[in-house]
């Protein structure tokens, strides 16, 4: 234990010290150049290591992934487009994509709506009530996805009929003398996927609520007053005065949750491991890479995911810039 602490301290000192020395050396090298060249080179000396790190740890792996997606399962020979063809004609993978679409449609929207609802209603409470209500809604944010999925076991748990039901839902069914249901296995209309989405929404509503609540409090009181004087009802004020003013925040929350949802993995992995038709892209990727050992399929899945996420990222960056410009 003592040794480990010493090692950690040495690693921290060495790491930070090493970085300082590198930048000092690079700076000195730049200073040694004459005249205008010093000014031309210096910015690159400081930005260079970061650019290099991005190239090595982000751009290079991304390129290799694209390359591998056209290769066979142990990346020894090219197979053309067959990985993509196999995946996109495989019914189980199409189900995976469809599940992801469901997640994308339902989770961000529900997170925003519920977060907004809580923010508006809590705004009407006394300060003390508002604080405690928000704290409770925010609490799940501090729980990891794996933890959340495990906690929700106590809701969805199933025991054979006749045994004491340890899951809340089945205990309620038992109270009304109904047979217990194996919730994770209820794949009709993707009901089980919906149950898993609730877990993610539960952890994300707190985040959405905090941002939207701050935005609502930032709405100038005089605009609301003006609306009241003109005879607008509460509903009219909310939809025509408050919502338009907090719209940029709504978009930000929506997109942040959306990007998180596209990468959803932990909740599905812990609860069903993709069984019963609840699989999603990220879990399927993990399965192809680590269980099936198929680099080709795994890379192709990642490329598909990247292609799906990029438009969202571009929209987010544009949205952000437009907002900055408007300020």
């Amino acid at each position: 234990m003592g040794i480990k602490v010493v090692n950690a301290v040495i690693a921290i000192i060495g790491g930070i010290g090493g970085a300082i020395i590198i930048f000092w050396i690079l700076n000195k090298l730049a200073e040694s150049l004459k005249g205008r060249w010093e000014d031309r080179v210096k910015p690159w000396m400081f930005a260079g290591p970061a650019i290099l790190a991005i190239a090595v740890y982000l751009i290079y792996p991304a390129i290799v992934t694209v390359q591998y997606s056209f290769a066979n399962e142990d990346s020894t020979a090219y197979v053309g487009l067959s990985n993509y063809k196999d995946l996109l004609t495989d019914n189980s993978f199409l189900q995976v994509l469809f599940n992801n679409v469901l997640w994308i449609i339902i989770v961000p929207a529900m997170t925003v709506v519920l977060g907004l609802g809580v923010a508006v209603l809590a705004d009407r409470l006394r300060p003390r009530g508002e604080k405690s209500a928000k704290t409770f809604i925010f609490l799940p944010m501090a729980i990891s996805m794996v933890g959340a999925a495990t906690i929700w076991r106590t809701v969805y748990d199933y025991q054979p009929e006749g045994a004491p039901q340890t899951g809340i839902l089945n205990a309620i069914l038992g109270f009304f003398n109904k047979a217990p249901v194996f919730w994770y296995g209820e794949s009709t209309l993707h009901f089980n996927s919906l149950l898993l989405m609730i877990i993610l929404i539960w952890t994300q509503v707190g985040y959405s609520m905090v941002l939207l609540s701050a935005a609502i409090k930032g709405v100038p009181e005089d605009t609301v007053e003006a609306g009241r004087i003109d005879g607008a009802g509460e509903r009219k004020i909310f939809f025509s005065i408050i919502v338009p003013q907090i719209w940029p925040t709504v978009i930000t929350v929506f997109i942040t949750v959306l990007i998180g949802v596209m990468k959803v993995f932990d909740v599905v992995y812990v609860t069903t491991n993709g069984a019963y038709n609840t699989d999603v892209i990220a879990r399927r990727f993990y399965d192809e890479l680590y269980t099936q050992g198929n680099n080709g399929y795994a890379s192709a899945i990642v490329v598909i995911l990247i292609i799906a996420i990029v438009p969202v990222l571009i929209y987010q960056v544009r949205h952000f810039r437009a907002e900055e410009a408007a300020r």
């Binding site: 194996f182 992995y269 812990v270 993709g274 050992g293």
Partner: protein, 441 residues
């Protein structure tokens, strides 16, 4: 100025060279083909294993006692994740001296790369006199040499019953697979539920089904076909293997045969799924699971406290009486170099002299001559004498030895789809066959 600059360049040069040297690692095989010892013998021998907290203390005690007598210092290294750590150390040219492999698959991979030293014929012959038949075959790799022999094993071929309830209902212990079906039908005819089957294990859901199928293949297809099946030479959907699935289907899909119906099999946890044996009235009468379930976290605490009177472990029945096989899991000792003391330690671990303290902690010796009375309770003693040491053939868990793609992949997930009603048996077997790698590495 110039001086300073070149000094700095030199410094950077040295740093880069140092980094590059750090990345290169010598990758030399330490194993040779010879099974006999060479060299004077190291004073310190390192043994690496992935044993759990239940088995590690017993192993350490047994080996330490032997080492003290022989004047050798043992370095015990516990791997938190065996497969990853042993691969890393072997690839880095820094393997331990002796390793305990949880399954033969990876061991034979390393043997093929000439990283391991096989047992010499005399030692194998001596151990074979007392080993349960099948263990030395399990440690035999593609070149026909024995690279590993077991340290201790756990037994999987067990059906648990609630002894008082079983007796009160007037049922008799089934001796053959036909008996077992007849008993299931009888219990059902009595208006009761014969089976608890539990295969839920989080992300690993489905593995208890593999134990069922393996036990059935071992009996219905026989040990030789079992070996071919594990190696991928016999398909899951072959006339030899499929009958095992058909037998399992009769029980798992039998109307009223399984507590909670077929769907509850994949929804019930493997640790606690058998606890309904002990409710009043019993939720079921039969539950197949390995010996670990008779520990804390498995059966209810009250049952574990009175294990010997509360439970009766029944051997998973044979195809024909008197000729029963056993399915086990366990750790096999293999040597990474032919240093005299390395081989001495490995040979001791595999010998019948090893295992006294481990037996006291509840682990079974693979040697038939082991003192059964050392085991901590009558239940385990019965398992040892009735199931393990009477077996005509022992086989290691087949899914562990199959390529991970199947053994930790489709062999778990496809039966789950079948049992939860998403596809039929034919599709299930064909899907597993399709996933089996064409060439085994």
């Amino acid at each position: 100025m110039m001086n300073r600059k070149s000094g700095l360049t030199a410094l950077i040069g040295i740093a880069v060279a140092g980094l590059a040297a750090g990345c290169l690692s010598s990758n030399t095989g330490t194993g040779t083909g010879a099974g006999t010892a060479s060299g004077p013998g190291k004073s310190t021998v390192e043994v690496m294993y992935g044993l759990g907290p239940d088995t590690e203390p017993g192993f350490k005690a047994d080996v330490s006692a032997w080492a003290a007598k022989n004047g050798i210092t043992i370095k015990f290294t516990k791997a938190a994740s065996w497969d990853t750590e042993i691969r890393t150390r072997v690839q880095g040219g820094n393997p331990p001296d002796v390793g305990l492999f949880p399954q033969p698959g990876l061991m034979c991979d390393l043997a093929k790369q000439k990283k391991l030293v096989p047992f010499d014929d005399a030692t194998v012959a001596k151990d074979n006199e007392t080993l349960v038949p099948g263990f030395s075959q399990a440690g035999t790799c593609a070149d026909g040499k024995v690279y590993g022999l077991p340290n201790e094993v756990s037994v999987k071929s067990i059906i648990w019953t609630d002894a008082p309830a079983f007796k009160a209902a007037g049922y008799t212990v089934p001796r053959t697979l036909d008996d077992l079906l007849a008993l299931s039908a009888k219990i059902k005819a009595d208006g009761k539920t014969p089976w608890c089957i539990a295969a839920e294990s989080g992300a690993a859901t489905g593995w208890p089904i593999t134990d069922w199928i393996e036990d059935l293949v071992l009996r219905i297809a026989g040990p030789d076909n079992y070996d071919k099946w594990v190696k991928g030479e016999l398909k899951f959907n072959s006339p030899e293997i499929k009958p095992a699935w058909d037998y399992f289907e009769k029980i798992a899909f039998g109307e009223g045969y399984v507590r909670g119906g077929t769907k509850s099999i994949v929804a019930t946890n493997f640790q606690t799924g058998g606890n309904a044996l002990f409710t009043k009235p019993p939720g079921c009468y039969l539950f197949k699971q390995a010996t670990f379930v008779a520990n804390k976290g498995g059966f209810p605490d009250a049952v574990i406290a009175n294990l010997d009177t509360q439970t009766q472990p029944v051997p998973f029945p044979a195809k024909t009486t008197g000729d029963n096989a056993v399915l086990v899991a366990g750790d096999i000792a293999a040597a990474f170099n032919n240093d005299a003391n390395t081989l001495k330690l490995r040979d001791f671990i595999a010998s019948k002299e090893n295992g006294t303290q481990q037996a006291k902690n509840g682990a079974f010796s693979p040697h038939k001559t082991a003192d059964v009375s050392l085991l901590p309770n009558k239940t385990l003693q019965t398992v040892a004498s009735e199931v393990l040491y009477k077996a005509s053939a022992a086989r290691f868990d087949g899914s562990d030895a199959m390529p991970a793609k199947v053994g930790a992949g489709t062999f778990w997930t496809e039966p789950v789809k079948w049992i939860s009603g998403q596809q039929d048996l034919e599709t299930t077997l064909n899907n597993i066959d399709a996933s089996f790698p064409k060439t085994r590495s």
